[in-house]
Each structure stands twice: as structure tokens, then as C-alpha cells.
Symmetry: C2
Subunit: 396 residues, 2 copies
């Protein structure tokens, strides 16, 4: 039976490929500290559940294809507070940021069209780009430079007649890199100069630890046709399971094309949208508390990582991930070792091996992504296990 | 800015294109009877809301990529009662039947690959097929034959080396056609003989009015690699707004490819899946009541339509739609007339013009789809308005 080329190019999730080994380790009684997935442990604000519990319509009907109007207005209100006025038609509600990316790639990429992305990058970008027949052109970075990527020459060297878009994650997953205002402006200028979409995945906007403030590519008034923002409530409100995101752009032609895909799948889940709208009304103190908690975690991880000889890791400034280069040969083999051969007092640790965050074959093999989504005590123990694991692995 | 060819080939929803005229008519005080959209008015069983209201986890976390295990088990239990045993890996939960179709088309179609579909068909199929770069090859039918399509020669005449799948909707939207068991077997044989996927969209399975019983293409044990069923709770439990569907197949290679897209978008909304699982446990009497109600509605519409001279409409046997050929030149122009120029005692009626259900240009222009999702009194009045409208339109 025929399988499409595009499906064959896609891979299974690197974050989940060690799942069977983890199940076996747990069956042996080993406790695993999970630094491998970006599922926050922060409670979802009760506003979501309150609204859902009071949902009064006897028929759970389809929502409007572009999104429930109260949610679109809530999103607009949020951006207005960032100084970015949006029209109703500038916002399409999506089933998570994931669907926003899928609809966008289907709308802008023909087979062979290219998207420039700094690597390491969120691996699922590949799935959305390959689904549309597209090609990824990675911008190289280095662990020693903290994975910073905003170098105009590096981007322009990759632009050709098939280039359709630049795609960045800001704050970054997996690197935690935050663009400086002048770097944002530079990327916007490159997109304008070459008539490209500038796709800015800003789902971690609130997670900044250096007082950076909340930034968005939408703030550039002179790039309305270029800038497309991918947004989501998943991380902002610790509501990953609601699957509510948004595609935001002032490019009306693009939004009308994306609307075809919105109508094709009819609607996003109704109750989740109503709950999401309520989340936008919570006390902003929630973000300060959450930010402080993640900052403590980031500081804890960095402090502990520095005690492991040979680890290269510059301090990340945002999101709740970091990439680190380890003094090992292969992070995949190391992860398998940690799950199958290593344990310390009946405990071990999981992370996301680095290679899958790279499009360039062979890169990132000695790197890992750490999601600091555990409490500080657990993080200390998890990094201690990482250090002991490196020692044991290199002693084999 | 570049827009992809595939997006350009997709259309905006025909069901929604008269929305602006409807808004204007309502602003003038005209009451509109909506026969144009398939949104049932039947209450969603309270089991859904009960479970959602008792959702106790403080963190609304991602669900598993293939679906929440209790929901997968509920779907398996439902099919076991139809005599179809399924393994856990045979079921992928999707965001409505829509996402199941999108993931499927992305997995099986390369640009230029063909899908054979009897026309008229559900217009959104085009969006999913075009998104994957595919081509639709329509099997012709006739209103005078009640749009029946299960003719082996007609299907085989369209098969070539680019054909990848047969796609049918059973019971049918927009026609209400139900395949007889021997017709199902014939299509299965064609798929097997030519090594094609047989995609059976069975979301209206419970809506049968001739005592047909609940049927599924999955019941053919000798076509495990060919048959793919698209399913959904939307119509079955009047829960369209939950956006919970499923892709079901025993073809493991295919399901593993589709799993890549499941992992790419991470998960389906968590609470909606938990609610959906509860729906599968409700008293089966619900289906009998719902079926009786829709049968009354079907009979009401048919009785009233027969009183309009020149209408061609064979009795549909399932779903809650019918197609009818009207004694008019152009259903689009007629709909515009009904909204902009016609009213009877301050009331008018909307339907879905037929042309958009056809891939063949020019076909279906004098046809309409009626969704009988109103109560019987409203349906009588709506069809009366249709008849008066036809008279007025042809008198212009």
C-alpha cells in the first residue's frame, strides 16, 4: 500500500522514542526524573475550570471556524495591552500552536519551497514543513555562543529563489535564547528586504528571566505583510491539554488562505475556547509568580550543571528549556545507558537527546535538551544523577 | 507574498458563503429557517458534561498523542459490540473526523495522486485532498437514481496507476444513500483487487431509517490493509463542539505513518476526550429516540417536497441530509434571491447550493442539499417557503 513521500520524511517524536525503555525501567522499580518533556507542573488557573463547569448550553455545538468571538476578543485585548492593536480578522484560533503552524505551512509552501530556521529547533517544525512538501535550511549556531543565531549574514547566505519564510522561536525552545530588540528588527528587515514571511513562534513570551518585558514581532508596523505570529495558551496558562492556540497576522491575503483550512476542519473545541477566553482575564500576578518559580528552577539547573566537569552551557534567558553539550560521545547511547544499565539509589534521569533538534546530520550528538519543569529539589537530584551518569557512562 | 498552489486550489466553505446575505436579511427583520448546516439541535447527553464538571486534575496536561487510553478502549468496546474486535494500535483519536481525514491524506497522497469519490460529496474532502497535493476523480450519479453510486464498472473505469484510494461516506452526506451489504463487499473487492485504500467515512452510522442495522467496512476480515474508517462523536452523540473523532485501521504501517502526524500536533484536547469516553457508556435507548426523531423529520421533508411541482428527490435512507433537484436554473442565484428579494410573512429559507458538492464543473447547479436538523413544524414551514420561493423565482 502506498505511503506518501512526505509522511516518510517525517519522524516519530524524539521526545517519546525512549518511552519503552522508561516503561521497563519503571517496571524494575527505578524512579525516573523527567527532564525530557515540556509539560509544566504549574496548576492551570481555576478560571478555566470554573467557566467550563458552568457551560450551560444543552447542545455542544460547533464553534465559529475562525474561533469563538469572545476568545478572539480576549486575544486582541491581550495584544492591545502589549501595544499591538489587532482587528478581528487578524486572529484565527487554532487547535494549539501546532495547528496554526500546520495551516500556515500548507498555505505558504509548495513542494521544494524552503524555510530558514536557526538550529537547534523544535523538532515538530519538521513535521509541519514536510507535510507541506517544504525543505528546512538550518542556520548554524554553537553551544559556546549560547546558541545565539541573529546574524544577518548567516540568514542572507541561505536565501534563494525558493525561500519563503524565516521561522524563529522567541523565547527559544530548545535553547532559551531571547532575541534582543535590535536582533528582532534585523530579522524583520531581512524578511522585508527579501519579501519573506517572518514566522515568530512566541508561545513562551511570558517566560523571560532578565527583565526583558513582553515582546512580539507584531510590534513592527512596517512589516504587516511579513510577520506571522504563532501563539498558544498551553505554556502561558499551563493549559497544554486545552489545545488552544492562535495564528496572528495582518496579512489579509494569507489569513484568508488559512481560513480555508479553518473552515475545512470546521472548528476548534468549543468548551476549551470558552475556558481559554476566561484565562485571559486572570490576575496578572499569576505570571509574576510563575516567572519567579521558573527563574529559580533555571538558576538551580545552571548551578548544578556547572558542577559537572566538561559540560558546556550558557545561561538561557527564557522559556523553560536549555541545551547543554556534555562530555560524552552520543546522547542517544547515553540515554539508553541511563535507562538500561545505570541507577543511583534506584533512580535515574531522562532528557531529550540533541541530534533530533538539528536538521544537519551529525550535529548535536553530544548535546541534550533539559526541560526544567520539576521543583527545585527534584531538579537538583536530577542533575546530580546526570553527573553521576556521565561518570559511569565514560567509565564503561 | 507567496501563497501555495494547494491553498489556492482550496475553496472557502460553500455552506458559509451566503452568511453575509443572511446577516443582512436578519438585520431587516427576516426570519431564516436554516436547512444549510448539519448542526443537530438534539441535546448532548449529560454524561459528557457530568464528567467534564468532575475533572479533578489541577493541571490540564497534554493527553497521549494517539489518544486517552480510556477513550481508545471505549471506541474498541463500541466496535466489539458491532462484532469488530480492534487492538489498541488500530485506533488513533483525532480532533474530529476532519483531522483524521487530513492526517490520512497527508500519509497516503503524493502530489498528483488520485482519490475516487462518488459525487456529490462532502465539500471539505477537497480541502484535505488538495492540502496533500491530491486529485479528485468523481464517480457520476443521478438524482433520478437517488444518487446511488455502487457500480463496479464506474469505479474501475477511473482507476489508473496514480489511484491511491476510494473514498465513500456511508450513510451518505449529502445524499443520505446507504450502501447495501453486497455493495459494501463489491467496493471492498475493488479496493483489494487494485491494492487501494478504501476510506469509509462512517460518522453517520447510527442514522439509518430502514432498519439497516449498524454497518462498518471494518467487518471485512480479508481487507485489513485496505480499509480505513473515519469516525466521530460529533453526530453520534450530538457533540460536534467536542471535536473528537478517530482514524481506525488494521493497517499497521499506515497507522504508524499517521502516528507521526499525531505526535507532530502533540495531542487532542484532554477534557473533550474524557467526556467522549463517557458518552460511549450511555443507555443505547438514546440512539433509538434520536433515530425516531430524525426519521419523522425525513418523512416530513419528503412529504412536503413531493407537493412542490418539478422537484426530483428519492427518499434518502440515512444521515440527516438529502439532495434534491429543483425546477430552477441555478441554486446559487436562487439562494441569493431568497435572501435578498423574497420573503413570505417575514420569513425565508436557506439550504446548501448543490454545485459545491460536485467536482465536475457545471454539475449540481439546479440541486440543493437540505439538512433536516429542525423540528417537524419548522421543517414543514421551511419546505413551504422553498416551494413559494421557487414559484416567485421563476415568475421574475
Amino acid at each position: 500500500m502506498h505511503i506518501s513521500q512526505k509522511a516518510q520524511r517525517c519522524g516519530l517524536s524524539p521526545m517519546r522514542k525512549f518511552h519503552p525503555m522508561a516503561v521497563e525501567a519503571k517496571a524494575r522499580g527505578t524512579k525516573i526524573y523527567h527532564l525530557n518533556i515540556g509539560q509544566p507542573d504549574i496548576p492551570t488557573p481555576p478560571a478555566f475550570f470554573d467557566v467550563v463547569k458552568n457551560f450551560a448550553s444543552p447542545v455542544l455545538a460547533y464553534a465559529e471556524s475562525p474561533g469563538v468571538p469572545t476568545l478572539i476578543d480576549a486575544v486582541r485585548g491581550y495584544y492591545a495591552r502589549l501595544g499591538v492593536p489587532l482587528e478581528q480578522d487578524d486572529v484565527l484560533i487554532s487547535t494549539g500552536g501546532s495547528e496554526a503552524l500546520m495551516m500556515l505551512m500548507l498555505s505558504i509552501l509548495d513542494p521544494g519551497d524552503e524555510v530558514i530556521i536557526p538550529e537547534p529547533f523544535y523538532p515538530n517544525y519538521s513535521t509541519f514543513i514536510y507535510a507541506a512538501g517544504g525543505v528546512i535550511r538550518p542556520v548554524p549556531t554553537r553551544p559556546e555562543e549560547g546558541y545565539r543565531y541573529a546574524d544577518r549574514a548567516k540568514f542572507e547566505a541561505l536565501i534563494n529563489e525558493r525561500t519563503r519564510a524565516l521561522l524563529i522561536t522567541n523565547p527559544g525552545n530548545p535553547t532559551g535564547v531571547i532575541l534582543r530588540p535590535e536582533e528582532m528588527a534585523m530579522l524583520k528587515d531581512v524578511a522585508r528586504a527579501h519579501n519573506l514571511y517572518l514566522i515568530s513562534d512566541e508561545v513562551y513570551r511570558e517566560f523571560t528571566y532578565g527583565g526583558e518585558g513582553l515582546r512580539t514581532m507584531l510590534s513592527f508596523g512596517d512589516a504587516a505583510d511579513n510577520v506571522v505570529v504563532v501563539d498558544s495558551i498551553s505554556k502561558r496558562f499551563s493549559a497544554c491539554g486545552a489545545r488552544v492556540g492562535a495564528l496572528i497576522s495582518r496579512n489579509r491575503e494569507l489569513m484568508q488562505q488559512c481560513m480555508k483550512f479553518c473552515q475545512g476542519r470546521l472548528a476548534v473545541a468549543t468548551m476549551d475556547q470558552v475556558g481559554a477566553a476566561a484565562l485571559y482575564g486572570i490576575d496578572p500576578g499569576y505570571f509574576d509568580e510563575t516567572r519567579e518559580e521558573y527563574k529559580r528552577r533555571r538558576d538551580t539547573v545552571m548551578r548544578c550543571l556547572k558542577q559537572i566537569p566538561g559540560v558546556i552551557c550558557e545561561e538561557p534567558h527564557g522559556a523553560f528549556y536549555l541545551m547543554a553539550a556534555l562530555p560524552i560521545d552520543d546522547a542517544d547511547a547515553f540515554q539508553a545507558f541511563l535507562l538500561q544499565e545505570f541507577s543511583d539509589r534506584g533512580e535515574t534521569v531522562m532528557f531529550a537527546p540533541g541530534a533530533s533538534f538539528y536538521a544537519t546530520p551529525g550535529k548535536g550528538r553530544n548535546e541534550i535538551r533539559i526541560a526544567y519543569v520539576l521543583n527545585c529539589a527534584d531538579l537538583e537530584r536530577a542533575i546530580e544523577l546526570l553527573g553521576k551518569g556521565i561518570e559511569a557512562y565514560n567509565r564503561r
